[in-house]
Symmetry: C2
DNA sequence: ATCAATATTATTGTACACGATTATTTTGCT
DNA sequence: AGCAAAATAATCGTGTACAATAATATTGAT
């Protein structure tokens, strides 16, 4: 007497698909800048907080060095950021935005903003979904750290 | 006069993080079976629909052969599925569940079900979030195929 | 001051994801 | 029948993710 699991009734699957659609959406929106979505949110975090260590960027994005180190190297190669060992603490690598990144900031904001507003989603629904998803994320975090019973 | 973009106010970022948490959650839940989340949903689809071609599986999961071919080979190596060229249409590769997969089905359903119920989420909120996310997914799909204006 | 514990980044290995291309087979048009 | 167009998988290249490990630097307790 086991209840069958139907894929289309799974919240995880809805979120899995929506995340892929967002990726696709941002791939189009960011194409003029030749940025991927993870690269874009890395820049967003740096625009917001200024120069940070790799660790600190990782905390804002929930990513570790295994993901960020190669991603940062690509951003550096494409002239968006610079990476420099901290003189104060030689373990740290400080990541800073280049003049190019700073000068293109408003253009990115404007272009992405116009693409996003093309999604026909009311402010209220946006907020409702975001609150709900954030809550699910929190519940998952609690369920993961906690033993399952 | 460009409005700044704050990462934590972005719905895409909430969904991005929630998807990663689900991945983490299922990695724990599926550890006894040595399955990843994408492998798990592939089995779910096969449990639901029976033998299908790679193309058909791809349609149920929104994945293409570039992802599925190597994933299927791993599932085959681990004894979950068999792959066979269709006799009727030599272009197709039919994917079928093995006796192992069929015999473990209820065990997987039960174990995953108990893990999921450990997430403290009311039925109503579950439905509300899922409906909202599905709607966002649909709006994104419309925004992508449609030109941005 | 010493040295074990800790912190930070980089590296390695495995597994997706997906666009683009290739190889093979089937279908549809004449 | 003959052949261009379409369909299906596989392959290749690039870019995440993340666990585990390694390498180096810092801190803290004695």
């Amino acid at each position: 007497m086991v209840k069958p699991i139907h894929l289309d009734e799974q919240l995880c699957f809805s979120i899995y698909k929506a995340q892929k659609q967002f990726n696709h959406f941002y791939a189009q929106a960011l194409a003029p800048f030749k940025l991927t979505y993870p690269q874009y949110i890395t820049l967003l975090s740096l625009y917001e907080h200024g120069t940070m260590s790799v660790k600190e960027v990782g905390q804002t994005l929930a990513l570790d060095s295994g993901t960020l180190t190669p991603l940062m190297k690509r951003l550096e190669k494409d002239g968006w950021i610079t990476r420099k060992r901290s003189a104060v603490d030689e373990r740290r690598v400080d990541v800073s935005l280049t003049a190019k990144a700073l000068s293109l900031r408003d253009e990115i904001y404007e272009h992405v903003g116009s693409c996003v507003s093309a999604i026909d989603l009311s402010h209220d629904e946006f907020e409702a979904v975001k609150t709900g998803v954030d809550n699910v994320d929190a519940k998952l975090t609690a369920a993961i750290t906690q033993p399952t019973r």
